[in-house]
């Protein structure tokens, strides 16, 4: 069985930063990436990122992926990146089973593991929600920005969080009409600058609205939406029809961390972090020594915090393996400070509350 010092599962913003951080401290790293391309969700983020210089603010996500991947190369053989490789099981003694290229299945034993597996799109229950033409917003973004495929001609976006409004904007950039953006909440969840970008393109954002039903025979032809009251119950008589061939569902993400759950890591359902998350220390270490978590797998946040968490987890995992860099304390407090800064404002309130509940 192959043995590795540090196994990082996932090469999104958290995984890549964890690898760079750990390798720069002297650890040997193997990264597993289930896709054919490293970068996770970064590879389809064509918009500029928020945050500060330390998290490459005002660079586009897709370019941040390139920058981070190039950095991996600086560590030569100390970092190995395995593509098309999905971690499918996580057992006692840190044995991870891997499915590679759909045709090889093998085990890897790791001294330490960082789980940076990201998130999964939440779905929504409404009549005819299985009609072709109804997609997750992330799926539409992948179709457009990774594969260059138009998902349709006229889109109704359900969800006015950051993903919903950003994907709507990118749909318009691709020349696709966006009929409206809905959200059941009474207020726009996205950063308002993103919402304003859409609003001034003439796209109505309808808060306190939900999708009541999808209509179509073989594929989506229209969607009926209605207003909801403060208890999110539909208000009769407020129905409106949108003739659209695409309905995009963007009602949030759930942390994807089933590998940690099956390994026996203590988990907790934390609504502020959008789902079940591992309990962890300030250094991103779970209740099982040597097993760390970073990025959306530890709770849904922005890519900027995923990068800072990745750096922190990589640094601390390496130190635990005996690769404490001379500037360990300085770097550790710097990453913690970055996370504190990113979470300190009003939009970070939920995250701060969630972090408190999920700390070991």
């Amino acid at each position: 069985m192959r043995e590795v010092e540090l196994l990082i599962i996932g090469s999104g913003p958290a995984g890549l930063c964890a690898a760079i951080s750990a390798a720069s401290s002297g650890a040997s790293v193997l990264i597993l990436e289930r896709s054919f391309k490293p970068g996770g969700q970064l590879i389809k983020q064509t918009h500029m990122f928020f945050g500060s210089e330390s998290q490459y603010a005002s660079y586009r996500g897709v370019d941040i992926a390139d920058i981070l991947i190039e950095k991996l190369g600086e560590y030569g053989e100390r970092i190995e990146l395995m593509l098309n490789a999905t971690a499918v099981g996580f057992y006692e003694d840190n044995v991870v089973t891997v499915l590679k290229d759909e045709k090889e299945y093998f085990k890897i034993k790791a001294r330490s593991v960082i789980c940076a597996t990201g998130a999964f799109e939440k779905s929504l229950a409404f009549p005819n929600n299985d009609l072709p033409g109804i997609y997750g917003a992330g799926a539409v973004q992948t179709l457009m920005n990774v594969y260059g495929i138009r998902p349709g001609n006229r889109v109704l976006m359900v969800g006015a969080g950051n993903i919903g409004v950003i994907v709507s904007y990118q749909l318009m950039q691709a020349g696709i009409e966006v009929a409206a953006v809905l959200d059941a909440a009474p207020r726009i969840g996205a950063y308002l600058v993103h919402a304003s970008k859409l609003a001034r393109m003439g796209v109505p954002i309808l808060t306190s609205h939900t999708v009541k039903e999808a209509i179509g025979k073989d594929c989506l032809e229209a969607a009926i939406v209605c207003e909801v009251d403060e208890r999110f119950d539909p208000i009769p008589g407020t129905e409106k029809r949108f003739d659209v061939d695409v309905l995009c569902i963007s009602v949030g993400l759930s942390p994807l961390n089933e590998l940690l759950a099956m390994r026996g890591v203590e988990m907790k359902y934390v609504p502020q972090l959008s789902g079940s998350v591992p309990m962890r220390s300030e250094s991103c270490e779970t209740c099982i020594p040597g097993i760390f978590v970073a990025g959306d797998a530890s709770g849904i946040e922005e890519a900027s915090s995923a990068m800072a968490e990745g750096y922190l987890a990589g640094l601390c995992a390496a130190a635990k393996l005996g690769h404490a860099s001379e500037d360990f304390e300085q770097r550790r407090s710097e990453y913690l400070k970055q996370l504190e800064d990113l979470r300190s404002g009003p939009v970070g309130e939920r995250i701060r509350a969630g972090m408190k509940i999920s700390q070991l």
Partner: protein, 162 residues
């Protein structure tokens, strides 16, 4: 209302504009950032120290109109595309706007376009004066448009004629 529609009210917009005397002197940045979010590239990008956020990156940027030269470097750097440059020094009748515009195909200098407000409603005519898209703007082109002064607080976007 802003939190429901994404459309800032006129009162909110006016607070972000410097006095008209300053606009008439020459180009100056209008930073339409109304919400505390963790973001500070405008401060980092400004070569004049005219945009300040401070230690806490969640603070709302403050633009000092006496330091701002209207160079426009911040326009393409703001991830929220919330910054534009206004210049009232060129003519008594019109004002020039420099706004970020990330849609293809780009307009061309001299083109007449439809001026839109913050809700995307047509409000005026506008003339494209210049299209800037250098590598340093990193694929956020900045378009200079001439607009009647009456629409100083309304104009925010444009649409090309079909």
């Amino acid at each position: 209302m802003f939190e429901k529609t994404g459309v800032a009210t006129r009162e909110m917009v006016i607070t972000k504009f410097p006095p008209i005397e300053r606009i008439n002197k020459g180009p100056v940045a209008v930073v339409e950032c109304y919400q505390k979010i963790p973001c500070n590239p405008c401060q980092t990008a400004c070569p004049c120290g005219a945009i300040r956020i401070g230690e806490d990156i969640n603070e709302i940027p403050q633009r000092d109109e006496s330091l701002c030269t209207g160079c426009g470097i911040c326009v393409a750097k703001c991830p929220g595309l919330s910054i534009m440059i206004v210049d009232g020094s060129k003519s008594e009748k019109t004002v020039e706007f420099r706004i970020p515009y990330e849609f293809m195909p780009l307009p061309v200098a001299g083109e007449r376009v439809v001026g839109l407000d913050r809700a995307g409603k047509p409000v005026c005519e506008a003339t494209v004066k210049r299209v800037m898209n250098p590598p340093s703007f990193d694929r956020t082109p900045v378009i200079t448009l001439e607009v009647d002064r009456a629409y100083l607080y309304d104009f925010r976007n444009f649409r090309r004629e079909a």
